[in-house]
């Protein structure tokens, strides 16, 4: 024992159980933060509603693997909804972590009401209030005749959001058979609250390694 061990794990320190437990908890904190690439535990600005969380956890658990060195994110929408049909809602998402990652899959999950009258025609726009008169860019359009959950794939370029990390999507939907204007539409066509509220499912990876100037030369 007198000889100094050449490496730290060769001589197991005989710690008191309490001291060992405290040391283990400290090591666990460091190991987890390092594994999640965090410097400290996150301070959560607006935690999602518990009902929505439960639905999301069930969705994430259905086996689809996390991409190698990547992450899967579920972001819940804050809905500002001017019409009763929810067909011209603005969905706001907070995505600050996207700025430092490579986004390679984005899907918007919407829940169509069970009492859908016929075929629903839906368009999804990226809405940027900062550009002139709140301009909007079409990201996807779909028709569906079945109620329940639907995942609409969006182009990653349209989801990156503003530098502020805030993404706004605007929905525009109406029954295909009925030509009444969306604003006048009275029956609700989409669920936007509770555990059937809309959310984004994103798959991100470590940022693409920037090609260094030397390598390009």
């Amino acid at each position: 024992q007198g000889v100094r061990a050449a490496c730290h794990s060769c001589r197991s320190p005989t710690l008191e159980p309490q001291a060992e437990q405290a040391l283990v908890l400290e090591i666990a904190k460091q190991q987890i933060l390092k594994g999640l690439h965090l410097t400290s535990r996150p301070k959560i600005s607006h935690p999602p509603p518990q009902a929505a969380l439960t639905g999301a956890l069930q969705r994430l658990q259905t086996g689809n693997m996390v991409p190698e060195n990547g992450e899967e994110i579920i972001s819940f929408a804050t809905v500002t909804d001017s019409s009763t049909s929810a067909c011209s809602s603005i969905l706001t998402f907070h995505l600050s972590t996207l700025q430092s990652h490579h986004l390679y899959q984005a899907r918007l999950w919407l829940h169509v009401v069970p009492t859908l009258p016929g075929t629903l025609y839906l368009r999804i726009f990226q809405w940027s209030p900062r550009r002139h008169q709140g301009s909007r860019t079409l990201l996807a359009e779909h028709q569906t005749t079945t109620p329940g959950w639907h995942a609409f794939t969006l182009p990653p370029s349209g989801v990156r959001g503003e530098d502020s990390g805030i993404l706004k999507l605007q929905l525009d939907c109406r029954p295909l058979e009925d030509n009444s204007t969306v604003a006048g539409q009275s029956t609700r066509l989409l669920d936007t609250t509770g555990n059937q509220g809309p959310f984004l499912e994103l798959k991100i990876g470590a940022n693409e390694p920037r090609t260094s100037r030397a390598r390009r030369r």
């Binding site: 060769c10 197991s12 190991q31 987890i32 999640l36 959560i44 607006h46 935690p47 907070h94």
Partner: protein, 114 residues
């Protein structure tokens, strides 16, 4: 790998289960409830050097005895992890989004002498 008991001075795996509640992190780490924080510690005398930490075959037993009686200078051998597995974690990030990530090499399954 032998799991450590107080009488074992040799290289072994020490098992600890850490509940995230005990860290005060149960509010942002959603799943799992905790994880196995194992680590390796113990002596690695020369005749164990390079052994994978499991019951060795007759060949490696003889080979180890040869090493133990070798005139060559003893190098130092360390008790290190030999098998590790990833841990899948679901947590809330600073935006309040749910993030699922597989953290590689998070749980030590086996230890051995380098």
């Amino acid at each position: 790998t032998p799991t450590c008991d107080p009488t074992t001075p040799l290289c072994c795996r020490r098992d600890h289960y850490v509940h995230f509640q005990d860290l005060g992190w149960g509010d942002w780490i959603l799943q799992p409830d905790g994880y196995q924080l194992n680590y390796c510690s113990g002596q690695c005398p020369l005749h164990l050097a390079g052994s994978p930490g499991i019951a060795a075959s007759f060949h490696s037993a003889v080979f180890n005895l040869l090493k133990a009686n070798s005139p060559w200078p003893a190098g130092t051998s360390c008790c290190v992890p030999t098998i590790q597995r990833p841990l899948s974690i679901l947590y809330l990030n600073q935006d309040g989004n749910v993030v699922k990530v597989d953290v590689p090499d998070m749980v030590v399954e086996a230890c051995g002498c380098s």
